[in-house]
């Protein structure tokens, strides 16, 4: 067990969990994770991320479904037999043990002798770049340093799966970026299959090989960052990941790959049927990201009136009010002298390409 090979695969097979209080926290989750992959579990607060993590770690026995690590179904194994390393959101370092004792804790539990334990702890502290802190107590370290100790402690047991619960939530922006790079580096070096829980979409998109988006306990989409961002399968994913304009409309004609939609804002556009086939005459919500809208000179797009313009560094975001009274945001790259749009200027807008407008059947 001590030398469990790193990078084992992890399969979450139709896992459902209902808390004794009756709350259905996760429902029929299927994840097939290859050895060595780094996966982000992304979703808003309360969508069941922590619950799923605790099920994989073995702290909670799921109501239904199976968890398979490598070739073993681990449902009957207690957490201390699963070789799953976990870094808690609040780090959960042992406050009465020194940093090196914290890191060596798992080795002691495995019966590694003292000298070997200390050597290994020191090696790991060097790996997370804290070699000088071995003798300190956790409370004598900064938040970011504690975070790294927690990581070293989890890595010490050579886990086959590493779970990180909102590992960077408590860190300020710069430190967070450093730690994200650090974790990614360590993960590459060790090849440990890693699952990162986050509600920060940028973190998910930048760190993970694949992203699992959860909402209300259900898996909305499981795919590569570009799949999730560019080819969202549900309206939820489209709106939760990145920002988007939601424009209601009616399907004029539709086939598998393209749908002609008459927007309430005026104009007909071609959109991609993202959530499966659309029926003619049905109401849809078309999602277009601000950076995928452009100002057009001809009569192709829909009309609007410019409200506020916000220069945000590399881009300028314009607020445009359309004919049906709803507002859309348009983001323009600031290349050279961007033509300043005056408040109240009449403009016409159109998506950059049909594949960048996603049409979902309207719910309601």
């Amino acid at each position: 067990m001590a030398d469990a090979p790193s990078g084992r695969s992890l399969v979450v097979d139709a896992v459902t969990h209902r808390y004794p209080s009756g709350a259905l926290a996760v429902e029929n989750i299927n994840l097939d994770i290859k050895g060595g992959e780094i996966i982000a579990l992304l979703g808003p607060s309360g969508c069941g991320k922590t619950t799923l993590l605790r099920i994989i770690a073995g702290f909670i026995a799921q109501t239904q479904g199976r968890v398979i690590i490598g070739d073993d179904i681990v449902d009957a194994l207690p957490p201390n037999k699963r070789a799953v390393g976990i870094v808690f959101q609040n780090y959960a370092l042992f406050p009465h043990l020194s940093i090196s004792e914290n890191v060596a804790y798992g080795l002691a539990a495995r019966g590694v002798d003292k000298a070997a334990r200390q050597r290994e702890a020191q090696r790991l502290l060097e790996l997370v770049q804290l070699p000088a802190m071995a003798a300190r107590l956790p409370r004598q370290l900064s938040g970011g340093q504690q975070q790294r100790v927690a990581l070293a402690r989890a890595l010490a047991i050579k886990p086959s799966i590493l779970l990180l619960d909102e590992p960077f939530a408590a860190l300020d922006k710069n430190l967070r970026l450093d730690m994200q790079i650090e974790v990614k580096r360590l993960q590459r070096v060790s090849g440990i299959t890693t699952l990162i829980v986050t509600h920060d979409q940028e973190e998910a998109l930048s760190m993970a090989d694949r992203v699992a988006v959860l909402s209300h306990g259900k898996l909305e989409q499981f795919g590569s960052p570009s799949d999730v961002y560019d080819r969202p399968q549900t309206l939820f994913v489209n709106t939760f990941v990145g920002s988007t304009n939601r424009m209601p409309g009616v399907v004029v004609s539709a086939d598998r790959t393209a749908a002609k939609v008459r927007l309430d804002a005026g104009a007909e556009i071609i959109a991609r049927p993202a959530g499966g086939a659309l029926s003619e005459g049905g109401r849809v919500t078309v999602c277009i990201r601000p950076e995928h809208l452009q100002f057009v000179g001809d009569e192709t797009g829909f009309a609007g009136v410019v409200g506020m313009s916000l220069p945000l560094g590399a881009t300028v975001v314009h607020e445009v009010t359309t004919a049906d009274g709803s507002g859309v945001k348009v983001s323009q790259a600031r290349i050279g002298e961007t033509r300043a749009l005056e408040n109240g200027a009449a403009v016409r807008l159109a998506p950059l390409a049909p594949s960048l407008a996603n049409a979902f059947p309207a719910t309601l």
Partner: protein, 287 residues
């Protein structure tokens, strides 16, 4: 007053606020204590000759030393019983739902809600020759003749342990409640079994509560005059009763004072041992 209010530390209040309490302590605690000390330094009951005779008498008298020893031992036994029984209760409390928590707290606090005298008499009823325990065991045919439970060390320890249990359980509940539940999980996920987790994580982190509980229980057990005398009966003598006899029955005030001072010092010594042990084991609680 308030010459430089801007630079004044907001957390520093005038010491005057503590004056009423200080005065109270001075009048009713420090003064009697000094009087006690003064009394104990007299060699005769009339208070004419100064000297350390009373202390010498106590410290060279095997009987007196025996009483002191058995009292300190009694305290240790009661404390040990309370710790061993109280810890699981406190541990359980932190792991059950809110409704069971209320029930546990009620059970723990119940002894405090009834008078000591009543509780002690209840124990007499339970432990007596024709008491509940003996009657039950006899009717079941397990024993022929009644066991001697009352007027024994066992009986005193049992009754005291029940009476003092809240003093142990409440600090333990507080201390265990301060431990981050994730620490349990962290320990477990690192491969530790429940026993290792308990001895390496839970116990060290609950030490502040253990020490507070032990100190309170110990101090309460060795000074529990009523329970000691009623359950212990005439055959067993502990310091409070010894003190009472010397002061009240024999009117030997200087000797009684010396007993008090020695008792006080002995208790202080034991308590400081508890505290030092706690500090040495690096249990800093939720710090």
């Amino acid at each position: 007053m308030g010459a430089a209010p801007a630079s004044r530390d907001v957390t520093s209040y005038g010491m005057g606020l503590a004056a009423p309490l200080a005065l109270f302590f001075l009048l009713f605690f420090v003064a009697p204590l000094l009087q006690l000390l003064w009394l104990s330094l007299h060699n005769d009951t009339a208070g004419l000759h100064w000297g350390l005779g009373q202390y010498l008498h106590f410290l060279t008298d095997p009987f007196s030393l025996g009483v002191l020893g058995s009292t300190l031992l009694l305290g240790a036994e009661v404390t040990a019983v309370c710790l061993v029984l109280g810890f699981p209760i406190a541990w359980l409390y932190q792991r059950v739902g809110p409704r069971l928590q209320t029930i546990i707290i009620l059970i723990v606090l119940l002894p405090l809600l009834t008078s000591v005298v009543v509780r002690t008499f209840a124990w007499i009823v339970i432990l007596g020759r024709q008491g509940i325990i003996n009657a039950t065991l006899q009717s079941l045919g397990i024993i022929e003749t009644p066991l001697k439970l009352l007027y024994t060390q066992f009986g005193v320890v049992l009754a005291l342990a029940q009476v003092q249990m809240p003093l142990m359980t409440l600090p333990l509940i507080t201390a265990l409640g301060r431990i981050d539940p994730n620490l349990d999980d962290a320990s477990c996920s690192l491969g530790a079994g429940s026993w290792r987790t308990f001895f390496r994580i839970v116990l060290p982190l609950s030490l502040p509560g253990v020490i507070a509980g032990c100190t309170l229980t110990y101090a309460a057990a060795i000074t529990a005059f009523i329970t000691q005398s009623l359950i212990g009966g005439g055959q067993m003598l502990f310091m409070p009763m010894y003190l009472y006899q010397q002061a009240s029955t024999l009117q030997n005030w200087p000797f009684a004072s010396a007993i008090s001072i020695i008792f006080l010092l002995a208790v202080l010594a034991v308590v400081s041992v508890f505290t030092t042990l706690g500090r040495m084991s690096r249990g800093y609680g939720g710090a």
